[in-house]
């Protein structure tokens, strides 16, 4: 049987006809991607607003009468959960996964377009359930984003009435949505690649998204299990996690349950989740760096292997989040060991990014600025991770601002830097228009310095012993007054950063309508998505015929070739050489 890529089998086509099928109930991966992205960014703005409210309370305690302790904990919880799950996971995999996988592997669409559409609507449902919890009796849960029992479901914790129930339901629904999307991404990468697109010719973006999706498919079930068991404990009176307790003077009906069991399940999801967010970021940033440095990515194979190795290792490090949980201390030794091992492939990636820049012909475009910013913030956050991975260092620091600083640098600011790099990089493809470069640069510098102004001082506060999770510090002997001054300044920086994100929102909305028409390949990139017949690509992506791939996606600055890039789909005989008699053979040929 002749080899026919799935996407060439025309019976799979499903052209939209009306406005509704084109933009609302759309089965087109690009529309779904933008729907995913739009919902994620909208809900992310809510989470950003919550963080500003938190910072107001922390910076200026006793000044805001409308924030009581219960509110504060609700802000913290919802901020964390929304950012990690509903923004980052959804935007990287649902947004960029949907947009880039079919375009970069040369497919017409995902292999199961209907399931893909279902995925985004179920995701929207999970977001609605989540946001509904702001409007029920007792408000949303204030248990912290980790939702540790017993406190998350016992009286006295904000949102213990309805909030936690809705939160768990929302997570379960989100997992269903993710699984539908995830099966699509994996199958599309494995089965719908175009002619010549071998696994090792795929851009690293696809590799990162692919491995992260596999992680998600196997990690989210742990959260699902934990959510089901906690819902039973909460609503049906079982004792999976709840020990015997006296709450507000009353003996509860529960007995014998194990709160640590929940923590194990939660972090068996929670740690891979860090890499579900990080691996797509690693992939996307590799492509942005390579393109704007006009150099092939340094150590492509090593980059792929590192992605796979990090993915595998991420399943055996979870308990480093639990050094202070009271688990068997011997566990700590094992998990510290695996945690430090995972630094090796991660460091390989960082070196390779830096070496990609080395002697590159760097163009400091807006996406490139964000990508370089990512290298800074990621190294910074990664190094403090090595501190915290060691049990003896973690114990005193675990409940301080040091941890806040660490994880916000490594999985807050860094992935967001990549998101911006990627959004700016692919914006001309998604909308067909160019964003405003000046506003983009203002956005970068304000965000880059602003986030450092927020998180750098937090390291010092943490080492000083400033405890996290506190509504207000009150008068504490070991904390000098200057600690509070610093905290107030962090709040100012946070407000500054939040305000400048509005510049970004304005820029993308304004440019969608008023921006100048973009060139189909404004960055002179090599990967397939820049060579669609229409810009932005139409339904079916490729017109009558699928592209054929002749090489990897990193053919930049090849010696002897006239242009400084060779597209993946350009036949070797069409490559124009500087010397008309020379024949194009590629990098090492």
């Amino acid at each position: 049987m002749a080899y026919i890529p799935i996407a060439d089998q025309t019976d799979e086509m499903h052209d939209p006809h009306s406005f509704i099928t084109k933009y609302v109930w759309s089965q087109d991966h690009k529309v779904i991607a933008i729907q995913y992205g739009g919902i994620a960014i909208a809900v992310g703005l809510i989470a950003l607003g919550l963080s500003v409210l938190m910072r107001l309370q922390l910076g200026y305690p006793d000044s805001f009468a409308f924030i009581d302790p219960a509110d504060y904990y609700q802000f913290v919880t919802m901020h964390g959960m929304i950012m990690v799950v509903y923004l980052l996971t959804a935007l990287f995999l649902g947004g960029f996964g949907n947009y880039l996988i079919p375009l970069q592997v040369g497919a017409r669409d995902m292999v199961f377009p209907f399931m893909n559409m279902l995925s985004v609507w179920v995701y929207l449902l999970s977001v609605i359930i989540l946001l509904a919890s702001f409007f029920v009796t007792g408000g949303p849960t204030g248990a912290g984003w980790t939702l540790y029992p017993p406190q998350s479901i016992t009286g006295g914790t904000p949102g213990a009435d309805m909030g936690i129930t809705l939160m768990l339901a929302s997570l379960a629904v989100f997992i269903v949505a993710f699984t539908m999307g995830g099966l699509n991404y994996v199958t599309t990468v494995l089965q719908a690649r175009t002619r010549g697109m071998t696994l090792m010719r795929m851009p690293l973006s696809v590799w990162g998204i692919f491995v992260a999706t596999v992680l998600g498919l196997f990690a989210f079930p742990a959260l699902f299990v934990a959510a089901i068991m906690m819902t039973f404990d909460n609503l049906l009176g079982t004792s999976f996690f709840l020990p015997a307790m006296v709450s507000l003077g009353e003996t509860l009906d529960h007995s014998g349950g194990s709160p640590v069991l929940f923590q194990h399940l939660f972090w068996f999801f929670g740690h891979p989740e860090v890499y579900i967010v990080a691996l797509p970021a690693f992939g996307l940033v590799s492509d942005v760096l390579s393109c704007h440095a006009r150099k092939n990515i340094f150590g492509y194979r090593m980059m792929v292997w590192a992605i796979i190795a990090i993915g595998g290792l991420s399943f055996i490090v979870w308990a480093h989040h639990m050094y202070v949980s009271g688990m068997n201390p011997y566990f700590g030794f094992f998990f510290a060991f695996t945690t430090l091992i995972i630094a090796v492939p991660t460091a390989i990636k960082v070196y390779n990014w830096v070496l990609t820049l080395w002697e590159g012909n760097i163009r400091l475009t807006v996406p490139m600025l964000f990508a370089c910013g990512f290298i800074f913030t990621f190294i910074h956050g990664g190094l403090t991770g090595i501190f915290l991975g060691n049990v003896t260092v973690d114990l005193p620091l675990s409940d301080t601002y040091f941890v806040i600083a660490h994880f916000h640098m490594v999985m807050g600011v860094s992935p967001v830097m990549v998101l911006y790099a990627a959004l700016y990089h692919w914006y001309p493809k998604m909308t067909g228009r160019m964003f405003n470069v000046t506003l983009g640069k203002i956005h970068f510098w304000a965000t880059f310095f602003g986030t450092y102004a927020i998180y750098l001082p937090m390291h010092y506060l943490g080492i000083m012993g400033l405890p996290r999770r506190y509504y207000a510090m009150g008068t504490t002997e070991f904390l000098p007054d200057s600690a509070q001054t610093l905290n107030a300044n962090i709040t100012l920086a946070a407000i500054w950063v939040a305000l400048f994100q509005l510049v970004f929102i304005f820029n993308i909305i304004w440019s969608t309508f008023k921006g100048k028409k973009a060139d189909p390949n404004p960055w002179e990139a090599t990967s397939l998505e820049w060579f669609t017949p229409d810009n932005p690509p139409k339904h079916g992506n490729w017109g009558p015929e699928l592209p054929t791939v002749y090489r990897w996606a990193y053919e930049y600055s090849v010696p002897g070739v006239k242009a400084d890039f060779v597209p993946q789909n350009m036949p070797p005989e069409e490559v124009v050489m500087e010397d008309p008699n020379a024949r194009y053979v590629g990098h090492d040929g």
């Binding site: 049987m1 080899y3 026919i4 890529p5 292999v111 199961f112 699984t179 099966l183 699509n184 994996v186 199958t187 599309t188 494995l190 089965q191 719908a192 690649r193 002619r195 010549g196 697109m197 071998t198 696994l199 090792m200 010719r201 498919l217 196997f218 079930p221 742990a222 699902f224 299990v225 089901i228 068991m229 039973f232 049906l236 009176g237 079982t238 004792s239 999976f240 009906d253 007995s255 014998g256 349950g257 194990s258 069991l261 399940l265 092939n296 492509y300 194979r301 792929v304 292997w305 796979i308 054929t548 791939v549 002749y550 090489r551 990897w552 990193y554 036949p571 070797p572 590629g586 040929g589």
Partner: protein
Amino acid sequence: MGFLKSIFDKPWDYQGEDPSLKGKELAEGMHPKRIALRMFLAVVFVLFMLFIVAYFIRMELDDWRPLPEPGLLWINTAMLIICSIVMQWTRGAAQKSVRQQVKWGMLAAGAFTLAFIFGQLSAWEELNNAGFYLSSNPANSFFYVLTGLHGLHVLGGLWVWTRATIKVWSGTEIKAVKLSVELCAVYWHFLLLVWLILFGLLSNT
């Protein structure tokens, strides 16, 4: 193995379009639905394994009181085994495009599946009547949750089964439903496997 081998490719070393050189593992004979089902089964397997790990951890604590499994479960197990056999037989019939066999095979498999579900519900009722309530002991809780979750997966399978069966009975070509029948069969075998693991676990602890 194809995957492992292919990640040792050096993409910068060779150029050209000939897909027979590399990436041959694409597509041929492997329908995306097969891949997706396998992936999905792996996810469901992980889900049950995590429950089982939680089961073992929770069992170690001293308030665990094992409950007597109703004898009915043996009959239910037999039902599910018959289901699997019938499904396999129907799959074979679909390969050979014997319409009559596919029609009745699908129907019989569905009937035995419903019998299984009904049997499981009766087992629940039996336990409940004997005073083994969901929340009275963690062993009971796990019993209900695990059997319930397995039952839900069976019901989910019945949804796909319904669509395939309607197609078969309404005269769609067997060629067009062959894949659905095959996927149903694989899913039923998988649910049987999960059930055997769960049943072994529940009756031995």
